[in-house]
């Protein structure tokens, strides 16, 4: 606060209180100012000297200790965040103790708030109840902990500990009004980065709205005119009240209010001195390359923050907010609006560093499916050859090539990106910024996906296991791990499992010769027994070794994912209120109108967002500043749109989870659990046809294993038309739609074209699942099995014949056919089927007699006549 105090003209305050401080105040204040100047000019050694003098004068002053901790940390090359964290936490604790001790702690909102809302009948409930536990402990200036808390959050953020950062920032944000503007702005920006990283759209929208209201810088021209200091300063007011130049006040009544406030002799806004404003803006940096950039600028001058022109920094903040907005829109996949806003950002960034805007534009095109364009933009954006940037660049290229279906090219880029990361990590000592720029875990996740696509489950699992450190709360990660297990089992890479060819192979031992020749058929042994011989404890992921992929591990992963999904659904339904509360609270005036949720009004019609915007673009294609309220509505709209998408995605994930779970339980011989998973799958609303098909097939098999063939048959009979005909359980479109469905509407002419081109391409690569006809064959075969068990042999015979015509390669269908023939005493027919089956291997037995323990398999093909 020293700068504010010194700049305010009405400083003289000789009487009374100053004398209380033993006359030491002027000296300490001067020292504090000196230290701050040293810190700004990065003369850390001198800074420490001054601070130590202060420490002698004001022993145990938490703020002095705080600044010492900060300076020591920076001086030592930012190498020990743990120590700094400890120091800052101590400072915070000390502050709170002091506040308690001095009895000067202002009553907190939480204690009093509850009491009063209880007292009042009726009114308390309609007036926004704001008494969340964390908010509202306000201390005297001396004991204000907001800066220390902010710094703690900064460290957690750089360490990728987003939830920890969030737990600190949210209380600060809830009670942001008493915090001074510079700190408040930093808190908001950091919070915005954190919630964006957490993909929390509604919180992002909230903070974004608040930022624009409280710190929004009118329109572009204002910043470029330069001489608008006073006007800008009026923007730095509290939340909703009068903000004449930023036009977010929506209705007439509140603008009346604004007028009335301005008319009153004590305007709410405080005139900030230009120096202060300047200082505030200049502490904001754009983009991650800020270090490199400021180094370039400051080569001649050691005072970057002071030399930066005010108008430029005003625009910098404007650009920054604009980029945040684009990131928010990209997060919520409101691509149309994002396109417009990124253009706007490019305009603001004209003549400045536009690399971040370009990157976002590239991301936009990538999300749109315009992969070529995305590559071009990426190339254009990465002019700087900073290692961290180039690793991200490679990662992003990897993403694009993955989407193009070129998995091996994408693998090259991902591993290049990882290589750069690991070389960064080798830099000693490790710095905080290095931590925050280290995206290796994220890239590793991408790698995992790519390995999975290439059919390398063990490598993929290793990647996912690493990425677990940050993604452990994501249901998808666990689903992917389960998929790794299934793929590994299927490919025979797991101890006890068999290779796919082994699995579907019918082994026939040929015994004896001539009239004594006998055929001994062996099939399905692998399925019944070996896999579960793996020790139950093997699945643990711990340690540094590679995860042991197995079916029990798959099951565990699927349960994790389901649990997380249910948790998030549960908390989503609860968290809507608190996340909006501060927004609501900022506008007590139209609280009632706010409460009828914009969600409901607009969620059904996503097309409204674009139409509302039509009016906002003038003939030049530039974006006019949206009229009051519209902006907020758009943001809110995006949020509900995004929540829609997320809801649908979670539903999809849930379907996949239950389907996989049912499959795994069947493989593990738990028909009861398999049945319950399959039934859960079938109960899901809006289940896709493919998963419905799987649900019925799994449920039927489980019922069969539970000796309930009649009920099993009912599940399959759903697809019967007439007595003996099976309909296709799904169509080819279902397959494709399911594989390529993108929640984004690709109305853009070029986007649409690309999207139209893609499906065929991707479906070729990705659609590994049964074709509709094969699915039909599967149903026929399983119907045959059910009938055979129930002794309806003729019917079984009919079904299995149909099955064999649709899925001639299925050894299961072949076996069922042979079984039915044998039961019908048609051993001749059975023999000829056996000999025509594709997956049969005839093994002469004489070889095995010699060494039965270690039989070698010189597969001799018996010529079928």
């Amino acid at each position: 606060m020293d700068s504010r105090d010194s700049s305010s003209p009405s400083a003289p305050n000789p009487d009374g209180s100053a004398d209380d401080n033993e006359g030491g105040l002027p000296v300490t204040a001067a020292l504090a100012k000196e230290a701050a100047l040293h810190f700004q000019s990065r003369k850390f050694a001198e800074c420490i000297d001054v601070l130590n003098q202060l420490k002698v004068k004001k022993e145990d002053d938490p703020k002095v200790l705080h600044n010492i901790a900060i300076v020591e940390y920076v001086r030592d090359g930012c190498s020990d965040p743990k120590k700094l964290l400890e120091a800052l936490n101590n400072v915070k604790k000390r502050c709170e103790e002091l506040a308690h001790a001095s009895g000067e702690q202002v009553e907190s909102g939480s204690s009093s708030g509850n009491k009063f809302t209880l007292d009042s009948k009726g009114s308390g409930t309609t007036i926004q109840q704001f008494s969340s536990d964390s908010a509202g402990i306000v201390y005297k200036h001396e004991f204000d902990t907001s800066v220390a808390a902010l710094n703690i959050a900064v460290i957690w953020f750089h360490l990728h500990e987003h939830s920890k950062a969030l737990s600190i920032l949210e209380p600060l944000y809830q009670n942001i009004e008493p915090i001074d503007e510079t700190t408040a702005l930093h808190i908001c920006l950091l919070l915005l980065d954190v919630v964006l990283a957490c993909h929390d759209a509604s919180k992002s929208a909230d903070v974004l709205n608040y930022l624009e209201k409280a710190f929004g810088i009118g329109n572009v021209s204002q910043g470029e005119n330069g001489n608008t200091g006073t006007q800008q300063s009026t923007n730095l007011v509290g939340k909703s009240s009068s903000v004449p130049s930023s036009t977010f006040v929506s209705d007439a009544s509140s603008s009346d209010l604004a007028a009335s406030v301005n008319a009153s002799e004590n305007p709410l806004s405080r005139d900030l001195s230009e120096d202060r404003l300047n200082e505030m803006f200049s502490t904001l940096d754009i983009g991650g390359q800020n270090l490199a950039r400021s180094a370039g600028i400051t080569s001649a001058n050691d005072h970057p923050r002071i030399t930066v022109d005010r108008s430029i920094s005003g625009v910098d903040l404007k650009l920054k907010l604009q980029l945040y907005k684009v990131r928010f829109l990209l997060l919520t996949r409101n691509l149309k609006l994002a396109k417009r806003e990124v253009k706007h950002a490019m305009n603001i960034a004209r003549g400045r560093d536009s690399s971040m805007a370009l990157l976002l534009k590239a991301q936009l095109e990538y999300t749109h499916g315009n992969h070529r364009k995305a590559i071009k933009l990426l190339m254009a954006s990465s002019t700087r050859t900073d290692a961290a940037i180039s690793s991200m660049f490679n990662n992003n290229l990897g993403c694009i090539y993955y989407k193009l279906g070129k998995y091996h090219t994408s693998a090259v880029f991902f591993s290049k990106a990882l290589g750069i990361c690991s070389s960064l990590q080798k830099e000693k000592p490790l710095k905080l910024l290095t931590f925050s720029q280290d995206k290796s875990l994220l890239i590793t996740y991408n790698c995992g996906l790519q390995y999975l696509a290439c059919g390398k489950p063990i490598l993929a699992a290793r990647c996912f296991q690493k990425a677990c450190l940050i993604f452990y709360k994501r249901p998808l990660l666990w689903l992917r791990l389960a998929e790794c297990c299934l793929m590994a089992v299927e490919k025979g890479l797991v101890k006890g499992s068999q290779t796919p060819s082994d699995r579907s192979e019918i082994r026939v031992n040929v015994i004896g010769k001539g009239r004594w020749r006998k055929l001994l058929i062996e099939y399905g042994i692998s399925r019944n027994g070996h896999v579960d011989s793996i020790e139950k404890n093997d699945w643990a992921l711990g340690g540094h070794g590679q995860p042991k992929l197995s079916l029990p591990l798959a099951r565990q992963c699927l349960y994790n994912a389901l649990h997380l999904l249910n948790c998030s659904e549960w908390s989503n339904s609860k968290s809507v209120l608190p996340s909006n509360s501060s927004l609501e609270e900022s506008e007590p005036s139209d609280g009632s109108s706010y409460k009828n949720p914009i969600h409901k009004k607009l969620s059904g019609s996503n097309s409204m967002a674009p139409t509302m915007l039509v009016g906002l673009v003038n003939s030049n294609g530039d974006l006019k500043e949206p009229k009051g309220g519209a902006n907020q509505e758009i943001v809110q709209n995006s949020v509900s749109y995004y929540e829609d998408i997320r809801g649908r995605e979670n539903q999809m994930i849930k379907q996949a989870l239950f389907a996989n779970l049912a499959y795994v339980e069947l493989e593990l011989h738990n028909p009861l659990k398999a049945l319950s998973a399959a039934l859960s799958l079938l109960e899901l609303p809006g289940c896709s046809r493919i998963y419905i098909f799987l649900g019925h097939v799994y449920a039927a098999e489980a019922l069969c294993l539970l000796n309930k063939p009649k009920e099993a048959a009912e599940h399959l009979a759903i697809y019967l038309s007439g007595d003996n005909n099976v309909e296709s359980p799904f169509r080819q479109e279902d397959c494709e739609q399911w594989q390529v469905e993108k929640p984004v509407d690709c109305e853009e002419p070029n986007g649409g074209a690309a999207a139209a081109k893609n499906p065929s391409h991707e479906s070729l690569r990705e659609c590994m699942f049964l074709k509709p006809e094969e699915a039909r064959g599967t149903l026929y075969a399983n119907l045959a099995a059910v009938c055979a068990i129930q002794g309806e042999l003729e019917r079984a015979h009919h079904f299995v014949t149909q099955a064999l015509s649709l899925v001639p390669n299925s050894s299961e269908a072949g076996m069922t056919a042979i079984y039915v023939d044998l039961m019908l005493d048609k051993s001749e027919a059975a023999l000829s089927k056996l000999k025509h089956c594709r997956n049969v291997r005839f093994v002469p037995s004489s070889l095995q007699l010699i060494n039965p323990a270690n039989c070698c398999e010189g597969g001799l093909e018996l010529d079928p006549e």
Partner: protein, 436 residues
Amino acid sequence: MGKKMLNLEEQCKIVNLLKSSSEQKSIEETVTDFFTNSKLRHFNVCYSLSLLLQDKMMLSSTERLVAFAILHRSYSSQKSAANPFISFLVNAACDDGAEKYERAFILQLLSSSNSNSSKEFLKQSASDYIKNFDPSSQNFPQREQLQKQYFEKVHPEPYSCLLQNTAVKNLLADPDVPCGCDANSAELDSQPGAKSKLGSGDRDEALSGLIANLSLEGLIPHWIRPVPPRFPVDEELVWLNPDNSHELQWDQGMCADTSRGAAVRDLIAKALKGALAPNQQEQVLVELANDPKLVYHCGLTPRKLPELVENNPLIAVEVLTKLINSPEIADYFTVLVNMDMSLHSMEVVNRLTTAVELPKEFVRMYITNCISSCENIKDKYMQNRLVRLVCVFLQSLIRNRIIDVKDLFIEVQAFCIEFSRIREAAGLFRLLKTLE
């Protein structure tokens, strides 16, 4: 690869057993010899034998008898119903296509365990038994009768899978003989030393091959279990953008001058107890205007608000106006609504309504409280005063369009009528009428 039913030792045992059946050894002896090794897995051995027995060609007649004897003996210590092969034995005994001596032998076996009936028939060798067999000496009971006799106390079958229960044996005869030849013709047996003919084969070789390869599992109908498809990769790939560099912040509040804040705090504390002097009031207002955050640190809490309102309404208005964005403002409003009605509180609310937008609910609530206070007051003089005040207050609110009269029309009208004797109330009533 598949699970073999018999280990090497068991295989040897069985082969030896079958060989020895043709020797002149009593059946009893042969069987006892067989069981001298306790390591045999009875079920596996018996199951193999039963599979071999099912093929009528495979075993010679003496071998069959010995095999049946083994099947029976393996479980003879228990009740016959507990023998897993009891139905196999009964079926064999009732098989009309089988040799009479064989059926008789089985019947004798079955009855031998029941009573102490003679086991004499086991004292001869298998070939002697066949030779000495007199078909007339034996009568063959009906299947039902046997089932009744031996299945009597059948335990309910333990859980087993239906698929497995319906299994058929996985052994198929596939005689490799030239066209037109009878596969059962003994000519095709290869003779030692003779040149092997087309379609010829050695029974012993086939037998030992079978014994070595038999497996427990039969043929069952098979289920196709489709592997679930991999979840599509949609927005899952992580696109990376550089982070904003959030830097550590210097605490500007270090050693800051807090004297003026302290002064304001002192003045506010005083203001709770009594009216401030005009210059003191001025100082508070100026300091609050200079530092918009000071209001949060001036020591006021919702609980203390009524005292401030009563003693220094102007300062209360100023503080509340500045706290309008505070998270605690709702608490302040609640306190304001619930405090005792007075000139000062009304003045504060009135001024607030022009300075900031108050929540509609709050204003409504306040008016309702005003009206009920007027009604409840006992002192006539005080009542008149309060009613006039409320009327002026309401008129001001209506004129300034702070409230929508429609919301409170009935309530306010009733109030006006009740106090119509007071001039201001009549005036308010007229104002209401003009708005209708």
